[in-house]
Symmetry: C2
Subunit: 250 residues, 2 copies
Amino acid sequence: MLSKATIKYIQSLQHKKFRDEHHAFLAEGPKLLSELIQANCFECEMVYAVSEWESAVDQKILLNGNIRVQIVEDFELLKISNLKTPNLVVGIFKMKIPQEHFDIKNRITLVLDDINDPGNLGTIIRTADWFGIKNIVCSMNTVDCYNPKVVQSTMSSLARVNLIYTDIVEWLSKSKSVQILATTLHGRPLKDIHQLSEAILIIGNEANGITDDVLNLAHEKITIPKIGKAESLNAAVATSIVLYELTRNA
Amino acid sequence: MLSKATIKYIQSLQHKKFRDEHHAFLAEGPKLLSELIQANCFECEMVYAVSEWESAVDQKILLNGNIRVQIVEDFELLKISNLKTPNLVVGIFKMKIPQEHFDIKNRITLVLDDINDPGNLGTIIRTADWFGIKNIVCSMNTVDCYNPKVVQSTMSSLARVNLIYTDIVEWLSKSKSVQILATTLHGRPLKDIHQLSEAILIIGNEANGITDDVLNLAHEKITIPKIGKAESLNAAVATSIVLYELTRNA
């Protein structure tokens, strides 16, 4: 049986303020939980699961990870879950300390200018991980990467990609030794850029694109050529296509 | 003032059963409304808006489209909106009759095998429109394209792309004169396919990929090469990258 205080604590982690205070975040569902535990990147504080999960899970994973599990009833899971249909298990993990200083040479680094939609950020993190991107620099107004909806859509890629939140104008100003590309609607056609093993790629906000201060720091504006009539591409889609092209001959 | 019956009718359109019964669907927000009205593809049954919207909207658009507007109070908009934060205006549009028979020669046609997530379908439709795709063939279990979440994320691309729902095994069996490509995790690297001006491209379900019956009908399996470690790509992201590559030299 979960205490009222425990329920309150878990529910509080749906809000950034309390996640930051406790340095902890939520992850749900058997697939994500077992991936996060095996990735062994985030310390697991506690797992709350219905008995059905416990009897199905690979006990070795729990033993190896030294994972503490508390069995809960369905009605309790409903209280602590952030999903409309709770999915057997909720885990609390400790945030990792982001690596603020990292190499920008010989690699592609992603810079996000106010990505607001949690699903978009999650998809961007997962796609970045697919293409071997190690570091993502987020503007201070980009949605929190530990937001439950972001966590659910990154799957375990959140464990492999380093995200920092900073003043991106300042960060880009210090990073001009590497070619800075900005994805816009009116730039050089993407395929003219050829493969780059070293670049900084800026992706703009879903509705407003890249802010002028940030755009001014780019060495080159690039564009995904439009054949049909859609007004714009989704931010995660644009990121994916550019990362594909930049690594196309890798 | 909205009558109870009107509120009930509008709310009913959040469900596929009633959308099909009334051949009508909902769209919300000033940007989407004005795009849909100007695209002049779906007949507009009625617009319900707060007075703030009416004073800001371009009256010419309303006149040209012969649009009927009923002004509502904020509390009424809240009742008929499908959004957590209603966005000034809700429109009811008549569905268009899908074009069941269309040319598959000299063009790329998309086939969706059980895409479940409304956001994914919306993004796929919008991306297809960007790359000039005219027709999308959806399996019967693919989410309804008039689902409010799909409509919101397609923006006006829904007006330009023809979607049909059918038995895709049967449809593919009759379409083998055109090269059928299936996006999978273990196929030929995408860039080896070169540009194609004629193809049928199959995209699988988010969790389970393409069903065996469907996969058996493909002439070639293709794969987006993985450099990093993510387990899979989001379905809309995979669609986008393949469409980009196929039309790369268009």
